[in-house]
């Protein structure tokens, strides 16, 4: 099973690829709204991509108040 670091890494890779941001510019502690320059609609899109990628269901209320990649990863990790 993946550990949290692997999960975080995969999220950063996926976010960089989908939102066309250099991977090296993203860190686990970054605010993904700011770094990816996304709004809530695009955050939902990110959520869908993560659900599809990890094969989990992540209710959007679980990411309420979450804005950094590391915490997002921990929410997904809790479903693996």
């Amino acid at each position: 099973m993946k550990d949290l670091e692997q999960t975080t890494e995969e999220i950063l890779n996926l976010a960089a690829a989908h939102f066309h941001v250099p991977r090296k510019s993203l860190q686990a502690g970054d605010d993904f709204y700011e770094k990816l320059k996304i709004d809530s609609l695009q955050a939902l899109e990110l959520l869908s991509r993560l659900e599809n990628h990890f094969g989990v269901e992540l209710p959007d209320y679980e990411v309420q108040g979450v804005s950094d990649f590391r915490t997002l990863a921990s929410r997904i990790q809790a479903r693996l």
């Binding site: 809530s40 955050a43 899109e45 869908s48 659900e51 599809n52 269901e57 990411v63």
Partner: protein
């Protein structure tokens, strides 16, 4: 009228298929403008039904199929009306949208909602009035009404109950969470999920398929398989209006409008 170009929507027919395109920025919010044009569409249905076998409803807005009711318009109306008049106004709106969705639900056309992006609230209710929902894999479905102290008011609960198990109905209503297309497929709400960007092609292919069948037989099959939950639909309007009369709703709408104005919320997240 077999074709129409409006401010919020357009329709056309060709080769036995009718297509209704929603294009009301930003996300096909259902307020006065879109409702009026949906009513025009409903009036045109008898002619479309004489010329086509299938109807595909889709959105040209990038955000998605529809984000639901126009909450800013609703708030704006509330600001300038006393409570009793506001409830009466909302009841009038609900009866109008119910008339449109009931007519769509009952159409002799095989109706297909091609959904991408957000399909929330009233938008979800519009999709549920169709015979089939085909979804882009990035589509999301949600009934967020409890966030405002309301229930779905455009017929969503009775229609969702037709398609999904009660556990999922309770989950969606009571948590206000959105679900992805894969979950919607597994739950029976959505009949097909497509790769990103493929929903229109697949929906058209499905519409072309249904045009092969005898129209009368298809309509009979549809009406036998799918009943209009008339009593529950009427009851939903009553419950919605009772809740709408509560001060909490006015406050929630005011808070929403202020947050939108200051861009301090994420409107698509709970």
């Amino acid at each position: 009228m077999t074709h129409f170009e409006g401010k919020a929507l357009s329709w056309k027919t060709a080769e036995g298929m009718a297509e209704l395109a929603l294009h009301h920025p930003p996300a096909n919010e259902i307020g006065t403008v879109l409702l009026e044009e949906l009513e025009r569409f409903a009036e045109a249905l008898p002619l479309l039904e004489s010329q086509a076998s299938a109807l595909m409803i889709y959105s040209k807005q990038q955000a998605g199929f529809s984000a639901g009711a126009d909450l800013l318009e609703l708030h704006s109306r509330l600001e300038h009306t006393d409570n009793a008049s506001a409830v009466e106004g909302v009841r009038g709106f609900l009866e109008r949208i119910h008339a449109v969705l009931n007519r769509l639900d009952d159409s002799s056309l095989t109706t297909i909602a091609a959904v991408h992006g957000v399909c929330f609230g009233g938008g979800f209710e519009l999709a549920l009035a169709c015979d089939l929902i085909i979804a882009d894999k990035m589509a999301r479905f949600c009934f967020p009404e409890l966030r405002l102290g309301l229930i779905p008011g455009f017929g969503g609960i009775p229609r969702l109950k037709r398609d999904a198990g009660n556990a999922l109905v309770r989950d969606l209503l009571l948590t206000g969470r959105s679900i992805n297309a894969a979950k919607a497929l597994a739950s029976g709400i959505v009949s097909q999920v497509t790769a990103e960007g493929e929903v229109l092609r697949v929906a058209r292919s499905t519409a072309a398929q249904v045009t092969k069948f005898d129209r009368a037989a298809a309509a009979a099959a549809k009406h036998f398989a799918k009943r209009l939950p008339t009593e529950e639909l009427r009851r939903e309007i009553d419950v919605f209006c009772q809740l709408f009369a509560q001060p909490a709703v006015r406050q929630a709408l005011a808070k929403y409008a202020e947050a939108k104005r200051t861009k301090s919320i994420h409107p698509y997240l709970p």
